[in-house]
C-alpha cells in the first residue's frame, strides 16, 4: 500500500477525457471500478493470474463505497495483481522421481503420453500448494486538477493499470512529459527537433519530431 506508507514512487498523467469527472456521481465511479473489480484466482481453475481494482485501505474489499474511494478532492483505489507461479525446477524434479519409480515398477520407460499426463498432474498438485504473490499498485486521481498518479515503479505494471483505467472509465490519459505536453499545447513539431548543438542528433525519422 505505497499510497498509505512506504516508498513514494509514481508515474504522472493528466486526464484529458472526461475533462472533469463528476465527484457527486459516486455511482459512476463505483460502476466503473466494479466492472474491473478484483476476483481471486480460483484454486480449481486453470488461470494462474487474477487482476482488478480493490479498495486502497482494504485490498480484499471491492465494495467501493463513497467513504472508501473519496478522500478530499481525490479518488483512491488499488489495482491488485495475484499470480501463482509453479516452480519449473520443482516440477522437473518431481517428474524425474516419478519416471524412476515407473521404470522400477514396470520395467520400462514411460511413454510420451504417460509422461505428459503425469507432468500435468504434478503441475496441478504444485499449483494447489503454491501461495499466490500479491502486488497492489495504487491510483490517486485528483478530480480538481485532473492529475492521476499510478503508484508503481514498474513500467509493465503501469501499462496494465492504464489499460484497465482506459477500459473501465473510458479515460484518455497523457503522460506529463515534455513531448506529450508540447503536443497538447499545439507546439509545432519543427520547433521540437533535437538540438543538434547539444545531442548531435542530425536526423530524426519522419513523424518523431
Amino acid at each position: 500500500m505505497p499510497i498509505l506508507r512506504g516508498s513514494v514512487t509514481f508515474a504522472r498523467f493528466k486526464v484529458i477525457s472526461p475533462a472533469r469527472a463528476p465527484r457527486e456521481k459516486h455511482g459512476w465511479f463505483q460502476k466503473a471500478l466494479e466492472t474491473h473489480a478484483f476476483a481471486p484466482i480460483e484454486r480449481k481453475g486453470d488461470e494462474d493470474r487474477a487482476e482488478g481494482f480493490v479498495e486502497v485501505e482494504d485490498n480484499d474489499a471491492t465494495d467501493f463505497s463513497a467513504a472508501a474511494i473519496f478522500h478530499g478532492p481525490r479518488v483512491l483505489f488499488g489495482f491488485r495483481v495475484d499470480q501463482i507461479k509453479v516452480s519449473t525446477g520443482r516440477a522437473r524434479e518431481e517428474l524425474q522421481k516419478w519416471v524412476a519409480s515407473f521404470e522400477r515398477e514396470n520395467g520400462r520407460k514411460p511413454g510420451r503420453a504417460e509422461r505428459a499426463e503425469q507432468k500435468g498432474a504434478i503441475r496441478h498438485q504444485l499449483r494447489a500448494r503454491a501461495t499466490p504473490t500479491t502486488r497492489v499498485h495504487d491510483v490517486a486521481w485528483n478530480l480538481e486538477t485532473g492529475h492521476l498518479q499510478v503508484w508503481s515503479g514498474s513500467r509493465k505494471a503501469i501499462g496494465e493499470v492504464l489499460a484497465a483505467l482506459e477500459d473501465a472509465f473510458e479515460l484518455k490519459l497523457v503522460p506529463l512529459i515534455p513531448g506529450a505536453l508540447a503536443a497538447q499545447q499545439g507546439v509545432k513539431d519543427e520547433a521540437l527537433s533535437p538540438t543538434r548543438e547539444l545531442s548531435g542528433l542530425l536526423e530524426v525519422p519522419h513523424g518523431e519530431a
Partner: protein
C-alpha cells in the same frame, strides 16, 4: 534423406554461402558498437526522450548557481543531488554515471555534456523555505522515483494520508512547473539564439550557470 541433405549442403557450398566447414560465410554485418549505437539512438527517439534529456540538462545548468527558480509564482531552490546518469549517441561512451555529492556540477560531467551526452536520470532536491522534497527522475517518463517528502505535520491517520498526497502532488507540481518553463523557452527563438550558446559556454567552463 541423407543424400538429399548432402546435395543441399553441396549446393550451398557451390553458391559460396558456406565454407568447407559448412559454416556460413556471411560476415556479421553489425558489430557490438554499432548495435549499441542503434539502441542508444532508439532510446533517444522513443517518446521524444531527447526533450526530457534536454530538459534535465537545462535544469542542471539553471540550478548550478543555487538561486531559487520562480515555479508557479513561488521561489523554489532546485539542486541536483547524488547520482546523475548521462547518455549520448556519439563517441565511444553511450552512458556515464556520476556519483558523489558534487558530481552533477563537476568538471567531468560538464566535459561529458560538451561531448554530446545529456542528462538522462538524476535526483533533484526542491527546497521551499525550510521544507525539502527529493526525487529521482528519468528523461523518458519523468516518473517520480523513491521520493522523500517533508515530514508530515498532522497526526490523525486520515489527515496524514491527505497531507502525504498533497506533498506528493506538490512535488509533481514542481516537476510540471519546470517542464512548463522549459517548454516555453524550448519552443521560442531564444532557445537556439541565447540558451543553447550559453549552455555550451557553461559546459566549456567559459561561463557560470
Amino acid at each position: 534423406m541423407a543424400r538429399r541433405e548432402a546435395a543441399r549442403a553441396e549446393a550451398r557450398f557451390m553458391r559460396g554461402e558456406t565454407g568447407v566447414d559448412g559454416q556460413s560465410t556471411a560476415e556479421e554485418t553489425k558489430d557490438a558498437a554499432e548495435v549499441e549505437k542503434d539502441q542508444a539512438r532508439e532510446q533517444l527517439l522513443r517518446g521524444r526522450t531527447w526533450l526530457g534529456r534536454e530538459l534535465l540538462t537545462w535544469v542542471l545548468w539553471q540550478s548550478e548557481p543555487g538561486n531559487p527558480l520562480e515555479l508557479d509564482g513561488e521561489p523554489v531552490t532546485v539542486l541536483f543531488t547524488g547520482r546523475t546518469v548521462l547518455r549520448g549517441l556519439h563517441g565511444e561512451v553511450v552512458e556515464l554515471s556520476a556519483k558523489g555529492a558534487l558530481a552533477p556540477y563537476s568538471v567531468q560531467v560538464k566535459r561529458a555534456l560538451e561531448d554530446g551526452l545529456l542528462v538522462h536520470a538524476c535526483r533533484l532536491r526542491f527546497t521551499v523555505g525550510d521544507r525539502s522534497w527529493e526525487a529521482g527522475l528519468d528523461a523518458e517518463h519523468l516518473d517520480v522515483k523513491s521520493a522523500k517528502l517533508p515530514e508530515l505535520l498532522t497526526e490523525e491517520e486520515d489527515d496524514r494520508l491527505t497531507e502525504r498526497l498533497d506533498l506528493a502532488e506538490q512535488l509533481s507540481g514542481f516537476v510540471d512547473a519546470l517542464v512548463g518553463r522549459f517548454l516555453a523557452l524550448r519552443a521560442s527563438k531564444a532557445w537556439g539564439r541565447e540558451a543553447v550558446p550559453a549552455m555550451r559556454r557553461w559546459m566549456e567552463g567559459r561561463e557560470a550557470g
